[in-house]
């Protein structure tokens, strides 16, 4: 609020909205009103699609189907029950969200184009059912005679009335999407887009978060469909076909994916363009296609996407599908990183804070509260006869091991010995061919990564997997959400409980960042940090979920001697302070020797030695297999 940039931005926003409100009063042309209503309705759809496509990174090729479900539901509820618009809109939204929720379950684990195809299929099924279910939808004849939007005290009659109704809907939709995206749920959504494995590794329920986002987006599209039905007073399948989804895709991409206003700008542009080109008659769509290509060529990240145009600097790389990750963001982030501001997303500070700098009302939880001790005598982790085959090749063979509470166990062995595979098996990234894994008395052999993580077993990766389009702080907050239970409703309404949870989170994250000396870089994009800092962020991100057992896959890789020594010291410290157990896969033998209570040596997928570090290194088998040549 004290930042000049914010004031300018908000003033601009207010001016745009004010203009949108006043314009139809000044221009008294019903055709223009009709056009404006069409633009705003398209913008609502684009905004909802942006949630899934832009922030979620999911190619939702069936989005128009949810629009159709909303429209048909509203039409049927209105025609059969004579219900007023608020009721039909709610019915439309609920049905669309419900269908999205139900169909999302079996397909959300699909990746990339498999997901896109499944969504396309759903959109197609919606259209086919609407088209052929004659007794309910009147098939190709459509449903005529739907009442105009009736808000009980007032009915939208003219195009201008409908325009205002759509405008209110658009603002609500934008608010809903922004609140979602700014919440830890939204951070989880973006995290999963950047790296779904990484997100799952800290316990983010990737499928659950995506389902929520998809349901919310479908719900918004459903309301838009309801408004369409009452506005046009007629529903048939044409507006809900693949062409509509493709148009929405173009709107979001041209405007800028993952930005607040991009979809609105894209919707306005691509809806008005054919109108402007009307005089070209048959050549109209030829020009439209050419202009679409031209815009993408000039600004592949979208008009409002961050980053330079074609004539500017290098474009953001492929690995970052989100333009908001582009080079402009960090600069802006550091500008707005006044001590008072929360995480930065899309250039808008997220309102997590209560009063500036005020201490939260409740006792601040510490980041690394000691986990309750496991039942005495029981190992925390027990792995029994674990084996894994890859295409007939045995990567891990009959490995059994145990980790006691508070113990640090080193897992060493030459390259290809199966260390990482064991980590992948324990953390749930791969399924074992045979054997069982018990954690804290629970069988987790077949649990998903995120479930394993939520149970308190969290890993890091050999190749760092940070959420590149999020800041350091947001990376940590995205992981922190596993300690929260957030309902969509609480996020949308910003309930008191939600705000309190956010206050707690802020304190905890501050503390965690301070512990690792990362306060100074907390508002930088994670991908821009030095290698050592990225490693640290990855560990903080894991720790903030309050694990009982940490699986560290080569945490010292790429660190210099001083850094790795510091890491060793630090690992001991967190163990001492919080009593958590660690499995450490590491090539830096100095680190291993210093911190580990026990070493397990692997070769060719089997355990060849196990015991106290000083004993193990003298073990003849180990010397031959591992230390013989290189140490």
């Amino acid at each position: 609020m004290r930042s000049g940039i914010f004031r300018t931005q908000h003033a601009l926003t207010a001016a745009v909205i004010a203009a949108a409100v006043i314009a139809p009063l000044v221009i008294a042309d019903a055709y223009i009103h009709r056009l404006m209503a069409t633009v705003v309705l398209a913008a609502v759809l684009a905004v909802s699609m942006n949630l899934v496509l832009g922030y979620g990174g999911l190619l939702a090729l069936g989005h128009a189907g949810f629009y159709g479900i909303g429209a048909y539901t509203a039409a049927l509820v209105s025609l059969h029950l004579g219900a007023p618009f608020p009721v039909t809109a709610l019915a439309g939204a609920a049905t669309a969200a419900l269908v999205a929720w139900l169909v999302a379950r079996p397909i959300l684990h699909l990746r990339g184009h498999y997901f896109a195809m499944a969504m396309l299929a759903i959109g197609e099924i919606v259209v086919q059912v609407a088209y052929n279910w004659d007794s309910v939808t009147r098939g190709a004849s459509g449903l005529p005679g739907i009442s105009q939007p009736d808000l009980i005290v007032w009915t939208a009659v003219t195009h201008r009335d409908n325009y205002y109704l759509a405008l209110v809907l658009l603002l609500l939709a934008m608010l809903a999407v922004r609140r979602f995206v700014a919440s830890p749920l939204g951070l989880g959504l973006i995290a999963a887009r950047d790296d779904d494995q990484g997100a799952a590794s800290v316990g983010i329920g990737v499928a659950q978060t995506r389902t929520l986002a998809l349901a919310l987006a479908a719900g918004i599209a459903g309301v838009a469909g309801a408004l369409y039905a009452h506005y046009i007073t007629f529903v048939s399948v044409e507006p809900f076909q693949l062409e509509q989804t493709i148009a929405l895709l173009a709107m979001v991409a041209v405007g800028g994916m993952g930005t607040t206003w991009g979809p609105v700008v894209g919707a306005a542009l691509l809806t008005l363009l054919p109108e402007v080109l009307r005089d070209f008659a048959e050549l109209r769509m030829v020009i439209y296609g050419a202009l679409l290509m031209l815009v993408v060529w000039l600004r592949p990240q979208g008009l409002l996407g961050r980053g330079p145009s074609r004539w500017g600097l290098k474009l953001p790389g492929r690995t970052r599908p989100d333009p908001s990750a582009a080079s402009g963001a960090p600069a802006l982030a550091s500008v707005v990183a006044a001590p008072a501001s929360g995480p930065v997303l899309d250039g808008v500070a997220v309102e997590f804070r209560t009063a500036t700098g005020a201490a939260p009302a409740r006792t601040a939880p510490t980041v690394l509260t000691a986990p309750e001790p496991a039942p005495t005598g029981e190992p925390l982790l027990r792995v029994e006869h674990l084996s894994k085959d890859f295409a007939g090749l045995r990567a891990v063979s009959d490995v059994s091991l145990e980790v006691a509470p508070g113990e640090i166990v080193g897992l060493i062995g030459p390259n290809g010995a199966g260390k990482s595979t064991i980590i992948n098996l324990i953390s749930g990234a791969h399924r074992p061919t045979s054997g069982r894994i018990w954690f804290n008395g629970q069988d987790i052999t077949h649990s998903e990564t995120s479930r394993v993580a939520r149970a308190g077993l969290v890993r890091t990766f050999q190749h760092i997997r940070l959420f590149r389009s999020l800041t350091v702080r947001q990376n940590v907050e995205a992981a922190y959400q596993v300690r929260l239970w957030l309902s969509l409703l609480s996020v949308m309404t910003r309930s008191r409980r939600y705000r309190e949870a956010m206050d707690e989170m802020r304190v905890a994250v501050d503390e965690a960042l301070a512990l690792f000396g990362l306060e100074g870089v907390q508002h930088q994009l994670a991908g821009t940090l030095s290698y050592g800092d990225q490693r640290r962020v990855e560990i903080v991100r894991a720790l903030v979920t309050q694990p009982r057992l940490l699986l560290l896959d080569e945490p010292a890789a790429g660190m210099n001697e001083a850094e790795s020594a510091e890491l060793a010291r630090f690992l001991q410290e967190i163990r001492q302070r919080h009593g958590l157990s660690i499995i450490l896969v590491e090539h830096h033998l100095d680190v291993v020797m210093e911190v580990c209570d026990r070493l397990i040596v692997l070769d060719h997928g089997t355990v060849i030695a196990s015991g106290r570090p000083d004993e193990v290194v003298r073990h003849p088998e180990v010397l031959r297999a591992y230390l013989g040549g290189s140490a």
């Binding site: 498999y114 769509m285 592949p300 492929r318 599908p321 333009p323 990234a429 190749h463």
Partner: protein
């Protein structure tokens, strides 16, 4: 409805394999381009449409030499397709090589809209008669009598992928393409000229689309400006059914899709064919997220 007899079944089978063969060629081209560039070519169906129109324009000059004419048509279509593909690779994909993933998708959607409407503007949006002098007539297959054309289309859709498979495994360039498809970064490090392989992959993939375009023209007896949309959606679906990046899978997926369509239309209802086929597709994906033929490759962690 008529009883299900062997001749009827054979008839249906051949029809399904003919249209499935067209889908297979479209899918194979789509999968090849996708494999090498990791980018979806949404104007792939428009290549198929434009080539069909171009071949229709030059058809009157072709001598009526029976099977030889057919061969000539296929080769011409492949050449037109390859040229179109190279133009698209250079003009649309190359400039967006460093752009976000969505950029080439949107750009090719623009191209799709452009080409579709340009052809409609130049040639009209009505159906245009497309007839080849060969193959005509029917032939006996067991107890059934089926159109030779359908058998030829199915045969073409088997022979061409087989030739491609040989080219991809036996030639230097083919191996480079496969290496790039598996891991572009590693391929580049190992000295593969990825710029050239992507151009070649585009040329081959689009040539396949062009061939499919003339085959479907012959099958339906007409070509029209919006024919590419169906081809894209079906080709995309076939690619997914087979497993992305899996060329054998793309062919199998195409044939399977064609068979499914014909049998559902025959024994359920043509009205519900699309709804049922898409439902089956979702069920398939829920059970086998990597497609039918695709193998779940554990991701490198």
């Amino acid at each position: 409805m008529a009883a299900v007899t062997l001749p009827v079944l054979i008839d249906q089978l051949v029809s399904g394999l003919a249209i499935g063969g067209v889908y297979a060629l479209v899918a194979l081209g789509f999968a090849l381009i996708f494999g090498v560039l990791r980018a979806a070519q949404f104007a792939h169906g428009e290549v198929y449409m434009v080539v069909a129109f171009l071949v229709l324009a030059v058809l009157p000059w072709f001598p009526a030499l029976g099977p030889l004419q057919f061969l000539l048509v296929i080769v011409t279509a492949a050449i037109f397709g390859a040229i179109a593909g190279m133009l698209i690779e250079r003009g649309v994909f190359r400039p967006l090589a460093d752009a976000p993933h969505i950029a080439p998708i949107i750009s090719t959607i623009g191209l799709m809209i452009l080409l579709q409407n340009l052809v409609a503007y130049l040639k009209g949006s009505e159906l245009h008669r497309f007839a080849l002098a060969w193959p005509q007539g029917n032939v006996s297959v067991g107890p059934a009598s089926v159109p030779v054309l359908k058998l030829v289309i199915f045969g073409t859709a088997l022979v061409i992928p087989a030739l491609l498979q040989v080219a991809l495994t036996r030639t230097q360039l083919g191996r480079a393409i496969r290496a790039t498809a598996i891991d572009a970064e590693t391929a580049r490090l190992m000295g593969v000229n990825t710029a050239r392989t992507s151009l070649v992959a585009f040329a081959i993939g689009s040539a396949l689309a062009g061939i499919a375009g003339v085959l479907v023209g012959a099958l339906y007896g007409v070509v029209y400006s919006t024919m590419g949309v169906t081809a894209l959606v079906k080709g995309y679906a076939a690619t997914i059914i087979g497993g992305v990046g899996n060329l054998v899978g793309a062919v199998a997926g195409g044939l399977l899709l064609g068979l499914f369509e014909v049998f559902v239309a025959s024994y359920v209802s043509p009205r519900w064919t699309d709804a049922i086929v898409y439902t089956l597709l979702i069920v398939l994906l829920a059970l086998r997220p990597q497609g039918l033929v695709g193998r779940a490759i554990p991701e490198k962690l």
